[in-house]
């Protein structure tokens, strides 16, 4: 698999390199013919941006035979990298100092950076999620969390009834139930940590010497439920990041498209006149 992926990367990178070289040659040839290359690179850049944006729309037409999603992703990634080169050629490596052009360049590069960040997230997060006990579907996480809560309460109630003691129940009520019932904050979403789980489990382990047999059995179940809740939180935070990153990337893409079309119209309307 790794070998195949490496081969694919080398092939795609080679195609990109050839494309960039061809672009450079064409622009030089245009320059040598006194053709105003920025107009043509502008057309090409707009076309590339549309193709890049269409990748998102393509997901909505999954049933149509438009090629596999993986192929589209590869096209999106390498075309995105190529668009950056095209933009540099288009602008001559200068940062535009016009209002609209400066805005366009800013949102383009923000989109590009968000794309790079997204690429990292889509590569790194699945590995992180695979290290947890199970895989969870993002939309089911609230329900699963609720099930964990219900199950933990049931376990604790039964243990209290069997043992006739409230040692575990008291600890559960004060420490574990809030943990299981509440969702984690924004800080956790950005930077997940297992410190709270470890603290709870340490406290629960310390409590074991005060528990009788029925409560000990229940505490073991609580250990598992706390771990599952932590896994659910971790999945939710990571998958949420993966989904919300697209908010930024797609929003910026829309801004790039609007600003690009406006820039193109203005450039064409202000060009030299007939001939």
């Amino acid at each position: 698999m790794t070998r195949r992926r490496t081969k694919r990367r080398v092939t795609n990178a080679a195609v990109l390199a050839v494309g960039v070289a061809a672009l450079w040659w064409v622009v030089q040839a245009m320059d040598a013919r006194l053709v105003c290359a920025p107009y043509w690179t502008g057309y090409a850049l707009l076309a590339v941006l549309v193709v890049l944006a269409v990748y998102n729309a393509r997901k909505k037409f999954a049933s149509l035979p438009l090629g596999s999603g993986a192929a589209w992703l590869q096209l999106h990634l390498y075309l995105g990298a190529g668009s950056a080169v095209l933009l540099l050629v288009h602008t001559g490596g200068r940062w535009p100092n016009g209002w609209l052009e400066g805005f366009l360049a800013a949102v383009y590069w923000l989109t590009f950076v968000s794309g790079v960040v997204g690429l990292y997230l889509t590569r790194a997060i699945p590995r992180q999620l695979a290290r947890t006990s199970e895989e969870f579907v993002y939309e089911r996480i609230p329900r699963l969390r609720r099930e964990v809560l219900a199950k933990s309460r049931s376990v604790v109630l039964q243990a209290a009834g069997d043992a006739g003691a409230t040692t575990l129940a008291d600890f559960y009520t004060s420490r574990i139930d809030p943990y299981l019932a509440e969702s984690r904050g924004g800080v956790y979403t950005m930077r997940p940590s297992s410190s709270m789980r470890r603290a709870l489990m340490r406290e629960l382990a310390d409590l074991k010497r005060f528990l009788d047999q029925a409560e000990l059995v229940a505490s073991e179940k609580l250990f598992a439920l706390v771990r599952k809740k932590d896994d659910l939180d971790f999945h939710e935070s990571r998958q949420s990041l993966l989904k919300r990153w697209l908010f930024v990337h797609i929003t910026l893409t829309c801004l790039v498209l609007v600003a690009s079309v406006a820039h193109g119209l203005l450039a064409l309307s202000m060009r030299g006149g007939p001939g």
């Binding site: 030089q28 320059d31 040598a32 013919r33 006194l34 053709v35 105003c36 909505k60 200068r94 535009p96 100092n97 016009g98 209002w99 609209l100 052009e101 579907v137 993002y138 939309e139 089911r140 609230p142 329900r143 699963l144 969390r145 609720r146 099930e147 219900a150 989904k243 697209l246 908010f247 797609i250 929003t251 893409t253 829309c254 801004l255 498209l257 609007v258 600003a259 406006a262 119209l265 203005l266 450039a267 309307s269 202000m270 060009r271 030299g272 006149g273 007939p274 001939g275």
Partner: protein
């Protein structure tokens, strides 16, 4: 009716639909209803289950995810939703009610669309606001344009350069306003610097001229064809090279080498390796002042025991971009004043009466009329050049001059020739009239005659403040009753008594003479200019006049130093023996500040700051083996000369002119826009633009019909 999308065995086949636009309001609580919202986002308010009939009873089928069958432990659900267990008629006792929310995908789409609409609206708002120009401009203007195109808030500011920049919200011009091009708008402002007719032509040259010029690169261009837009009707648009909107610090004239190589396809990878050597540049023509560097260095200065120092004559111009020659007084007078004074002799004969053979004229059937006795005898004497030019305004005299030849002498007339006798009588009559005119018409009468020959804009110079009373006196003495006694003082002595110049009557020679004031005498200069400018039918007259006025032994010896040049290729190259009209005199030395813009440029300023280059001879090294100029200046072609300097080697430049040092850009040493003159021929590149003074004195050609 909507159906449940999952069966009773829900947990095993649970099916999520994240792509649907609406999500159950209970989803965030972990207990979404199995039906989910409608397409329009409404809660179906459906029962929580479809009870199943088991025997005679109905059994709740609520899935475990929602708490399991409601007739059992129903913890966590609000009892207000209903009771527990199916109703007796098999209906669910509970109804799900929620406020559906948008799915993540829809929210994402809405945010993206909202941002796009907001930015579009903001753009439209700004285009309709006072900041419109700031939004439209892709960058700041250069300082010069920014100053000219103020005020910045003018809604039509863009239209000054962009045909499409008229006052419209989007800056899009109506079709009827797009008949002009951006380049035409550029030229409309820059027409004082660039000829509008040729502004867009490559190098500002007509296409035929561009192809004709024999540069090797252009030969190649001619073979492969010019790039798009070059040499056709549209020409090369200004914006191809001059890129605006890069801020106030941007140089509009900074162009890349690739721009040059679009036509000059022979690639110059490096100045040192590929640029051709300089050939004879900058010694492509002789100096306008005939100054023999070798002779002066080896002979005259050596004889005087003085050092031949370049800076003695070549001094920095203001700005130090170029060197200027010092004037005559500072540079030449010390040695040359004596010669000029000596050349005055008895003065320049302006009007003179020749000796005529009355008998021969009578024999020819003509009457001589009144003529001084002292000027009667065998044919003899000369008509001064100025007299011939003035007589040429008289048709009869002109015919006689044409027959006798412009350089004729009365000595050569044949007493037995009837035609010569008739011509002599005609010229005598015309001379009498010429002498009679000034008292009646003043200087104007003389200038009118001169103007019939060529257009003179400064006629006062031709008259030289001739005292009219002197003409009257001469006429009275030569033709009147007053006896002309033998003069006590010769013309030579009279001339010596007039060191400041002026007019004198030479009674012995029956001539009216002019004694030049010295260097720069305006009368001599005016008549030499007139004679040099004569062309066509008058060329012979002009050549004869130049031989007398600008010859080696002429009064003032003007042409000894001030070279004459042909105005065009069709003219003779040698004025001494061939027709010499259509030329001009270089009264001034070369002044780079007045020079037409040519392909090559050079500024001394950044070079002479280098210690080793402060010595002029580092680059301009005299070549003693080249010899003297000799008679090269007799030619009217400025390219006929002896180069007295060693060729300027490219190696002298490559030491500094390399990448990351002094630079090797084409535009560092070459102009793209050259200044083709409109009134000169194809040798214009060698010729100077007439200085202001010159253009004032002689302007051409508005010849009056004779």
């Amino acid at each position: 009716m909507r159906r449940l999308f999952r069966n009773e065995n829900h947990d095993e086949v649970e099916y999520d639909r994240p792509s649907l636009p609406w999500v159950c309001g209970h989803a965030a609580e972990g207990c979404p209803c199995p039906l989910g919202p409608t397409r329009r986002g409404r809660c179906p308010e459906a029962p929580e289950c479809v009870p199943a009939r088991v025997g005679d009873a109905w059994q709740c089928t609520r899935p475990a995810s929602r708490g399991g069958p409601c007739d059992q432990a129903d913890e966590g659900f609000d009892d207000s939703l209903g009771g527990s267990g199916p109703t007796p008629d098999g209906q669910c006792c509970r109804v799900n009610r929620c406020r559906p929310t948008h799915s993540l995908r829809v929210r994402r789409g809405r945010i993206a669309a909202g941002a796009a609409l907001f930015s579009l609206g903001l753009l439209l708002f700004l285009l309709g606001s006072p900041w419109r120009n700031d939004v439209l401009a892709p960058g700041g203007l250069t300082q010069a344009h920014a100053r000219l195109l103020s005020p910045a808030k003018d809604p039509n500011r863009c239209a000054a350069c962009h045909p499409g920049g008229v006052d419209a919200v989007l800056g899009v011009a109506p079709a009827d306003k797009l008949h002009t091009t951006q380049s035409q708008l550029c030229v409309a402002c820059h027409e004082s610097l660039i000829d509008p007719q040729l502004a867009l032509a490559a190098h500002g040259l007509p296409e035929a001229e561009l192809r004709r010029r024999g540069d090797a690169a252009l030969q190649q261009v001619a073979a492969i064809g010019l790039p798009d837009g070059v040499g056709n009707d549209q020409g090369v648009a200004c914006a191809v090279c001059h890129q605006e909107h890069h801020g106030p610090g941007h140089s509009l004239t900074a162009i890349t080498n690739q721009r040059c190589q679009a036509c000059h396809a022979e690639r110059y990878d490096s100045f040192a390796g590929d640029h051709p050597d300089f050939g004879n540049w900058p010694y492509q023509r002789r100096t306008r002042i005939n100054f023999d560097h070798n002779t002066h260095a080896s002979k005259h200065y050596a004889a005087a025991g003085e050092a031949f120092d370049c800076a003695g004559c070549h001094q920095d111009a203001p700005g130090r971009d170029t060197k200027l020659l010092v004037g005559y007084t500072q540079g030449c007078a010390r040695c040359h004043d004596k010669g000029i004074q000596a050349s005055r002799g008895e003065g320049l004969a302006v009007l003179a009466l020749p000796t005529l053979d009355r008998a021969a004229i009578t024999a020819a059937g003509e009457a001589l009329g009144p003529w001084p006795q002292a000027a009667t005898g065998d044919y003899d004497g000369e008509l001064p050049a100025i007299s011939k030019l003035l007589l040429a305004a008289d048709p009869a005299a002109r015919a006689a001059l044409d027959r006798l030849g412009a350089d004729f002498s009365f000595f050569d007339l044949d007493p037995d020739s009837t035609a010569d006798g008739r011509d002599a009588a005609t010229l005598a009559e015309s001379l009498r009239n010429l002498l009679a005119e000034p008292p009646r018409g003043g200087h104007g009468a003389l200038l009118k005659r001169a103007a019939s020959l060529a257009t003179i804009d400064a006629p006062g110079d031709l008259a030289g403040s001739l005292p009219i009373v002197m003409v009257q006196a001469a006429r009275a003495r030569w033709f009147g009753s007053a006896a002309t006694a033998s003069p006590a003082v010769s013309a030579f002595e009279k001339a010596e008594r007039q060191p400041a110049g002026g007019w004198l009557i030479d009674d012995a020679g029956l001539a009216l003479r002019y004694v030049p004031r010295g260097h720069g005498d305006p009368l001599l200069r005016a008549w030499i200019d007139l004679a040099a400018s004569l062309d066509g039918d008058d060329a012979d007259l002009g050549a004869a006049a130049l031989a007398e006025l600008a010859g080696p032994k002429s009064v003032g010896q003007c042409a000894t130093c001030h070279s004459l040049e042909s105005r065009g290729p069709s003219l003779a190259r040698d004025f001494s023996g061939a027709p010499g009209g259509g030329a001009f005199v270089n009264w001034r030395a070369y002044d780079a500040r007045d020079a037409r813009r040519s392909f090559t440029r050079f500024s001394h300023r950044p070079h002479v700051t280098q210690p080793e280059l402060a010595d002029c001879s580092h680059c301009h090294s005299l070549d003693p083996s080249a010899g003297p100029q000799g008679g090269a200046y007799a030619s009217l072609d400025p390219r006929d000369f002896v180069v007295q300097f060693r060729p300027l080697s490219k190696a002298a430049c490559t030491g500094c002119h390399k990448p990351n040092a002094a630079g090797v850009g084409c535009a560092q040493c070459h102009h793209y826009h050259i200044q083709p003159p409109t009134h000169l021929g194809d040798d214009f590149a060698l010729l100077p633009r007439p200085s202001r003074a010159e253009s004032d004195s002689v302007s051409l050609p508005k010849r009056q019909p004779r």
